[in-house]
Amino acid sequence: MNERLKRLKVKARDLDQKSYRQSQPLNILSDINAQNLTWMRRMAHLTARQCQAEVPIIDPDEQIVFTRTLPAEIPEVYTPEQWQELTTGRTIHESGPINNLSPDWGMVLSQGLLEQKQIALDGVMNCQNDPEKLDFYESAIITIDSVIELANRYAKEARRQNRMDLVEVLQQVPARPAQTFREALQSLRLLHSVTHLIGHYQIGLGRFDQFMWPYLRSDLHEGRLDMEQAYDLLAEFFISLNKDSDLYPGVQQGDNGQTITLGGVDQNGQTAVNELTRLCLRVSRDVSMIDPKINLRITADTDLELLSLATELTRKGLGFPQYSNDDVVIPALVKHGYSLEDARDYAVAACWEFIIPGKGMEVVNIGALSFPAAVDRALRDGLLAGEEMAGILDRVRTEIEYQVNHLAQTYEKLILPPAPFFSVLMSDCLSEGKDLSKGAKYNNFGIHGAGSANAADALAAVQEFVFNQRSIKPEDLIAALDQDFQGWEDLRVTLAGKAPKVGNDDDRADTFLVTLFNMFADACEAYGTTTLGGIIRPGSATAMYYIWLTQGFEDMREPIVGATAEGRQSGKPFGANLAPTQGVQIRGPFSVLLSFAKIDYQRIYNGGPITIEISDSVFRDRDSIQKVAMLVRTFAQQGCQQLQLNSMNLETMLDARAHPENHKNLIVRVWGWSGYFCELTPEYQDQIIARHIYAFD
């Protein structure tokens, strides 16, 4: 990286941009209440006011501009009383606004906002008798005008600073089609920032190497750019994503959903890897910041050269790329109602969920199924009733169905705020005259499947000691669980250490893992179609639920569970995503992959990675990069769905715990995203340290 980029990185890490921030959020409420606007118009008004209040900031080092000056808090468009009235009896998803989606960036960049405005103007002409449509189209136009006006003010500031290069770019985009790589990056930077400015969050950057490549290709072809200049621009763009992200909401700092999805296939099924794919990997490796978080789509046939390049990022401890296996993901999406063309165009959402950019109003994380809670209830009731394993498994099925139905039914009452500007960025909202909050081509929900290895291990331990060996009495087990193993340490050690475990390619445990996921899929399939016209997608991730489901969290809809029969004490976290139960002695990464390869990913398709930690000592010679790349290829060859491979040094993390001031830039993978270790709360730091104690070397 050259000096300019180094300066930009330091400024972003030091949050220099904070000095430009306005201290107070706008108050627009009295204004819009006086006008008695519809909810749709209120959202348009919010967009306009936020854009107007932004103060253009241009750093002399920047070629791609936009720095947010408005604070994190988004102005309310209703009073609490009005909001109460509007939403009583309805379900609010997380904090409310549409989130965790990826727009159709390719369309917006190539057509420009004015083209979208024309569609909306035509819409206005044609729907004079349809007030709802009219409301939507007129609101969309307000938002488009306000974003273009913001760009114009940036152009004016650029002229004032005599930055004619910038003036030229900002006169073109985002209003008109981007013509160059730089214009496309500028357009994306501004539009992406505006989505956050108006309250959306975890907004992904989609298949960046696909929609951006035509601009770079023509620049290179026409001689407007060489690869070094392209590298510079891209690095600046990546750094810019780290500027305002502390303002974006998330469960922990860094959980901001700024993902990009690289590689994969095109709409004809041919490999879509291009020069920009590789450039993104190289730039991300060198910039070494937590955003953007990279997903790489691969197949069993992906070449080792690309995987080796990707492994260099892992080696740096960035916690990405996360890998998704097209061989598995695409057919699964097609089986569940996605067109082949759309399935081939999937991107990864904020963490791991598969979504179609621009085409879905999907809520891929309506909550989590707690496998351990389901198993715990079934075990207690079943054992008390004197049942054998078959009876217990029947009860597990019932518990799983109950949890799935509860979440799905809760989301039947989902209410989403209108999103006129976000609709402008989607593929079909304007042409169909329908706001995104009213649905799109795909309207599915996703549920995480959390604690699967813990739950399977609990069943395997009961099978082994209660039924096979008959060495543990059911009443003793229940008493030990009730007492959180206090006074039952020998029993706990037996359950935790001597039973068959998921992650060792041991069918005695893995068979329960497979059974649990099949029951989950059955429950989702049995639920059928929601009133929004979507289905329920079962997944294999935990997100933050590996802690929440054991310790509780305010307003959580999922059940909490205490001590469990795999020997886990109350409050101790589950394994994150698809990982062996914490503390279990595991044979190695091959066995982990072979265990989790047994899940039927044609039915479990909401995403959720196998998570493997390797010690950074693995990378001691040149060969090691290629061999880790082979491990990634093995993941795809074994038919697994998704992989998160982390490299970390335990001593470094322990030192960072003690001396955070020395490790400001230490990056770790948390659940579906990477963050700065020192910015995490202690409970998450502890869980990551505990994970790495069992890293493979």
């Binding site: 990464p589 091959f590 072979l594 010679d621 060969d623 090691s624 082979m630 060859q637 074994q638």
Partner: protein, 251 residues
């Protein structure tokens, strides 16, 4: 069916041969090298390792059937990635009949034998018929120094080197670089001269001294007493080998 004594099975072993592999560590070794970093591999019986964090039994008897079964589950991974199984130790030749039986039960898997060469020549010859590649350690060419630092003299090892080079099995010579002991011009020159022109020689790997070699001695109830300066940097004089046209690298 035979059973063997192992002290570890390490998956995704990436420094033990081509591709990605699983390495089986056999317990028991006729040598006791002063720099040995796996002291728990020396004794041919199970033993307790005592760490501040607790105790762990090291050494597990396993039947050839069970071991081969476990390895065969990974056969596809090995085949697709140019990898295989490595038998290391300890010293695998001490359990050569067991290993031979395991290999017979393997499902067409590439096998690498990582040996110090100290064992019965007949056993070695027999085993060589079943393996695809050999990692062969040469430490010291001087018999007295060899006796002093490993506990045995090197005549059998040098005899078996001849057996190896006549077997047709390709092999890599591995030399641990112990400061001032093996990492001397004289020793490396004698090794180079001995192996020059040996049929089957693929290359020489020089293995720089591992400064954490003494880490496990206390836990194994043994004393760590290196009679050399651990901190001294290794010289790794590659030229000694390249001058004789020998392919050499540092690992």
């Amino acid at each position: 069916m035979r059973r063997g004594l192992i002290f570890d099975i390490k998956e995704f072993a990436i420094h033990d041969g081509p591709g990605i592999r699983t390495t089986v560590f056999l317990k028991g070794c006729p040598l006791a090298c002063m720099w040995c970093h796996n002291p728990e591999g020396q004794s041919a019986t199970p033993q307790i390792l005592r760490n501040p964090g607790g105790e762990r039994l090291v050494g597990e008897y396993i039947t050839s059937d069970d071991l081969a079964g476990r390895l065969n589950r990974q056969a596809k991974i090995f085949k697709q990635n140019g990898g295989g199984v490595t038998f290391s130790g300890g010293e695998p030749l001490m359990q050569s009949a067991f290993i031979a039986e395991v290999i017979t039960l393997l499902d067409d898997i590439h096998v690498l034998l990582d040996t110090c060469g100290y064992g019965s020549s007949d056993d070695f010859r027999h085993l060589l018929k079943k393996v695809d590649l050999v990692y062969y350690d040469l430490k010291l060419m001087d018999p007295e120094l060899h006796q002093k630092f490993t506990g045995r003299d090197n005549s059998l090892i040098l005899e078996n080197l001849t057996v190896l080079s006549q077997s047709g099995v390709p092999f890599v010579i591995r030399v641990p670089l112990i400061p001032t002991i093996t990492d001397t011009t004289e020793n490396l020159s004698r090794i180079a001269n001995r192996i020059q022109n040996l049929p089957g020689l693929v290359k020489v790997d020089l293995l720089p001294y591992n400064q954490s070699a003494g880490a496990k001695y206390e836990a194994a109830g043994m004393r760590w007493q290196p009679d050399y300066d651990e901190k001294k940097p290794v010289t790794a004089n590659l030229k000694i080998f390249t001058d004789l046209g020998i392919n050499v690298g540092v690992k």
